[in-house]
Every structure is written in C-alpha cells, then in structure tokens.
Symmetry: D3
Subunit: 128 residues, 6 copies
C-alpha cells in the first residue's frame, strides 16, 4: 500500500466510511485500478490540500453533482460525506437549492429528492 | 399567499394539474421554498409572459429536457403539460425526434421512451 | 445530387440562405460529407416532416442550443433562421429567456447576448 | 426497404444483433421513423465509412456515452456492440477508465457499473 | 422598484459591483426583464437566505460554472464576486482545481485560465 | 521529480511536445499543482496502461472533447496529439464526424472547425 493510497484512505474513512467498501466491491473484478485512482488522486491529492477544509470541499461537490445531474449514486454518497464532515442538513439543502439558478429547477429538484431519501433514512427530516 | 404565487398556481393548475401536489409533497419537509420558487419564478413570471403561448412554451420545455437528458421525471411531467395545453401527441413526438440532430440519437430515443410510457397510460398509442 | 439532398437544400434556402454557403465552404476540404449529412438528415428528413411547422421547429432549436450552451455560431445561425421563417424578435427572446428555468441564468444571458449581436446587425433593436 | 436502410441493417446485425428488435419494438407505435433514422443515418452512413473500422468506432461510442452520462441503456447496448466487433472486455474497461480524466470519476464509475452488469450476464468477469 | 428588486440589488452591490451595470446595459434593449429576474430571483431569494453565507455561496458558484464549462463571462464575474465577499485567491483556485475530479481536467484548466486573467488584472499573481 | 511525474512526462513528450510547456507556463503562478496532476494522473497512470495503445487513446479523447463541446483549446491539443501518435488526419475527421450521432451536428461541426484550423497550419489540407 503506497503512502498516497494510505493518505487518501484516511480521508475516505472520515468522509465516506459507510460506502467506501461498496465502491471497492463494485470495482474489484472489473476495474480495481479505478478504485485506486479515486483514493490516490481526488482523496489523497485534492481533499487533503490546504486552502479549503473538508466541510467546504464536500459541500462544493454536492453542488456540482447536483448541477451535472448525471451521478445520482455519487451525489447521495457525497451528501452523506458532507454531513459526516460537519455540514448541517440545512447547509446541504441550501447548496442544492442554489443550483436552480445555474443549472435549472429540474436539477435542483432532483438533488433535493436524493437528499430527502438519505435524510429520511437517517432520521434527519424535517429540515429546519 | 402572494400575488405572484397565486398567478403561478393558476398556470400550474392548467399545465400540471395531475402532478403539482406531488411536487409540493416531495419538497414539503426538506425544501418547501424551492417549490415556492418554481411557482413564483418560472410559472408566475415566465409562462405568463406575452410573446409565446403556453402550447409553444411547453413544447419547447419538452424539447430542452429531452436534449439535456438529466431530468426524466420532469420530462414526463412536461410532456403531460404539453398535452394539457393543446399539443397533440404527434407534436410532442416531433419535438423529441428533432432533438436527434442537436443532442444525438440516444437523447431522442430516451425522450420517446418517456413519452411512450405516459401515452400508454393515457391510451394515446399508437401515435398517428 | 440525390432527391434527399435537394429536398434538404430547399429547406435550407428558406431557413439559412445567408449562411449555408459558409458551412459548405468550411467543410469542403476536410469533411464535405458532414455538410451533406446536415442537408440530407436534419433538413431533408426532420425539418420537412408534418406535425410541426418550420416556425416552431426553428424556435425549438434556438431554445435547445441556448440551453446546451456549446454552439454559439450555430445558435446565431438558428436565431437568424427562426426570424427567416416567421418568428418575431420577441418570440426568439421569449424562447431564450425561458431557458433560465431549465438551464440556468448564465445560459439564458449568453443566448440573449448572441441574439442581440445579430439583432443589432439586422437593425431589430430595441425588441418590444 | 431502401438501399440505405438495408446497408444500415447489415451493420446492426453485426454490432447489435441482440438488441435491434428491442429498439424497433420500443419505437413502433410512437415514432417508427426515429428507428428508421438510426438505421439510415448513423449505421448506414457513418459506421460504414472508410477510415475507422467498426472495432474502433464502437469503442469510441462507449467512451462518449460514458462521458455524457445520460444514456445508460444505449451505453450497455454499445458495450455489447463493442464486444461483438472484436473489442476485448479489457479494451472496453480501458476506454471507460480513461473518461475519468475528461468527464470526472463519477462518469467513469457509472460506466464501469454498466459494463459490469453486462459482463456478469455474459460470464466475462473477472476482467484480466 | 419592488422590495424584491431592492433586496437583490443590495446583494449585487456587494458581490458584483464592478459588473452589474454591464449586465443591465447588455440586456436593456432586448430582454430587460431577464436582468430583473436575475436580481429578483437568485440575488434576492437565494443569496440572501440563511444557512450559507455569501462567501460560501459564491465559491460554490465558481465551482459549478467551472464544471459546466459553458459560461466563461459569468465564471469571471463570479470569481470576482467570490473575492469581493472574502474568498482568498487561493480558495478560488482550490475550488476550481477540485473540479478536475468531477468534470475532468480540461474543465479545471479552463477555469484556472479565466481566474488567472482576472487575478492578473487585479495584481493578485502569483497565488501562494 | 517523482517517478510518476517522469513517467507522465515521457508520454507528454510523445503526444503533446508542442504544447506541454504552454500548459506549465499557464499554470505556473496560479495552480502549478494542477499541471503536476495532469502529468501524474492521466498521462502517468492512464495513457501508460496496457490494453489500449496511445493511438486509440488519443482518438478517443478527440471524440469525447468534440462531444462535450466545452474545451476547444484542449481539443486542438489532443487532435495534434492524435496525429503525433500515428492517427491520420482522416482518422481524426472520422472520429469527429461520428459524434454527430451522439452529441448532435453542432458539436461535430465545431470539432471539424477546430481540426481544420490545426490541419491548415500543418499543411494537412485537403483531407483525403
């Protein structure tokens, strides 16, 4: 296990502790290196950088995946990660609502639907 | 209830009478203001404007959501709305087919699949 | 010259008479078949179809290219085409403004900027 | 049946023999011409062109649909087609992984998930 | 002037004081209502909401416009706004770099190029 | 200089020898690590992988950047890279034309326009 891998895993254990094994299992018998890249590049080299804390970084990712609208599973995982690193449900909701102005209302509504499903499961509704 | 809200609701009762409560229910305990924004901005301020009638506006929305390919639920709702304001099933189909030239064949085929599911439910098949 | 090519050219002479030669010149020494495909597929097979008239089809295309935001030259050509087949400047503007709700404000503003440049050149400002 | 249709069907029988009837059935009572366009334009006029063989063309399509992230059914069909025309499972996986650099990790992971589902069904796992 | 307009203008005077007149001038003789909508909806109703401060909201917008890659003028304006509300050049750069993982390297590099042009003009280079 | 950096630079000297310094210069005083990431991740870890050769990988990248339509500078660089690793101008053109079926005609035409500008500069027109 390389230092870079270990450094990325240390972040993932904070941000995505519930879903990290799921990703490795999914990729194991088809593209295990893609899982390694996820650990070694974004988590090891980006999420560890100075300048923005994990709380802000995960909120940005929630906003961007909402706007792109093409990665609902990953959006759910990053909403969970955003909560894990200190964002309140309300902060997550605000970041998603804001996307209505930059990617349209359907993108924002779909982001909220994904957040709601996770919040419900975690007993976080209603959001105040 | 503000005038803007009421004005938007008057449009939604014409365009989306079957699905409007569904959207409010979905957003109620997580982001009720997003529902209010949908009513007060696009429906109250855009769909009510002079220059294009509701029939043309809803057809445009069907085309755009087909091309973007990221909002299947909303595309179904807007196909329904397009029918509600006077578009024929054939006009809806034509707007979707046209997207093959601007967003590719997969986008157009996926739009047709969504239209077909709704048309089937409403007894509108086959489209002549 | 095939029948399909001739049929498409008959549409292009109506919709894009100012820019059609430009496209052929651009493609001539690198991908002339792509120009032929544009004539033979969208213009010959889609824009000629029953169910939607050219005026509505070109307005839809203006909306979609505004929403996608990746084809400014083609958006300008289709705004011109939309005018050529009977849309008023106001109808074009309305279709673009509507995109703010489905693709965000930057997309709509960029569409208006492209329309404005063309309208200015054609002496169509201000739009009432 | 036109020559163009027949020419396109000859390619589809090679690339998509398992799914071609499914597409025609889907479109039959709503937009049969869209099915005809798929045969007559991309399959008859593009996939038959000199300059790139079917193996490379299908691999490119797999990469592009992975990057766009809006057409999971068609991505699965084109992964199948890519295998049918001589790409190895590993080549398909490599094209998808490469998309992480141009469309982000979620797009690449979603592409792999679709490939995995098909490879599993076809007994092609693990990919070496 | 409505209360909503005034409320939005109060935000814009903080975030975009250098470019706000430019937007109104651009839209004035073609789509003045679109300018009003920008003030009355995102700035009056979203940027004023509790839950996220302006500093975080503008950073999110910088990230999203970088990822979408279709609005370079607005990205430059929002980078400027992000600085105006307290983000350091380094925070802006970090938000843009992070997009390489979700929208690919070209999107991130293009975002940096736009930031660099603005930072140069404002004497903010090199970024430490 | 890490082994990973060196490994990536060895690829870039083959694929992008004309433009690599330009990218480093652009990023130097604002986001030098982003340049390092480009070398260490896609070029060192993806383009060096078994399973697809550089010729195929660069052609795929040309196709994808054409389809996305948001990275014209990088598309030009990758067209150049595609030629540098053995693709003929015709192969590049074919990959771009194919995108008309998956991302629409405007995307394909814009890709051709970028290719044409580079081919002209390099004396590669007309393409046979």
């Amino acid at each position: 296990m390389s230092d870079r891998f270990e450094k990325g895993m240390n972040i993932l254990k904070i941000t995505n502790k519930e879903t990290i094994e799921e990703m490795f299992d999914e990729l194991e018998d088809i593209a295990p290196d893609l899982g390694r890249f996820v650990v070694e590049f974004p988590y090891s080299e980006i999420y560890t950088r100075d300048g923005l804390d994990l709380k802000t970084r995960e909120l940005i990712t929630v906003a961007v995946l909402t706007a792109l609208g093409t990665a609902s599973t990953q959006l759910e995982h990053h909403i969970n990660a955003a909560l894990n690193v200190g964002n309140s449900p309300k902060e997550v909701v605000e970041a998603i609502i804001q996307m209505s102005a930059y990617a349209g209302f359907p993108a924002a509504i779909n982001g909220i639907t994904i957040a709601k499903s996770l919040f419900k499961e975690k007993g976080l509704l209603p959001v105040k």
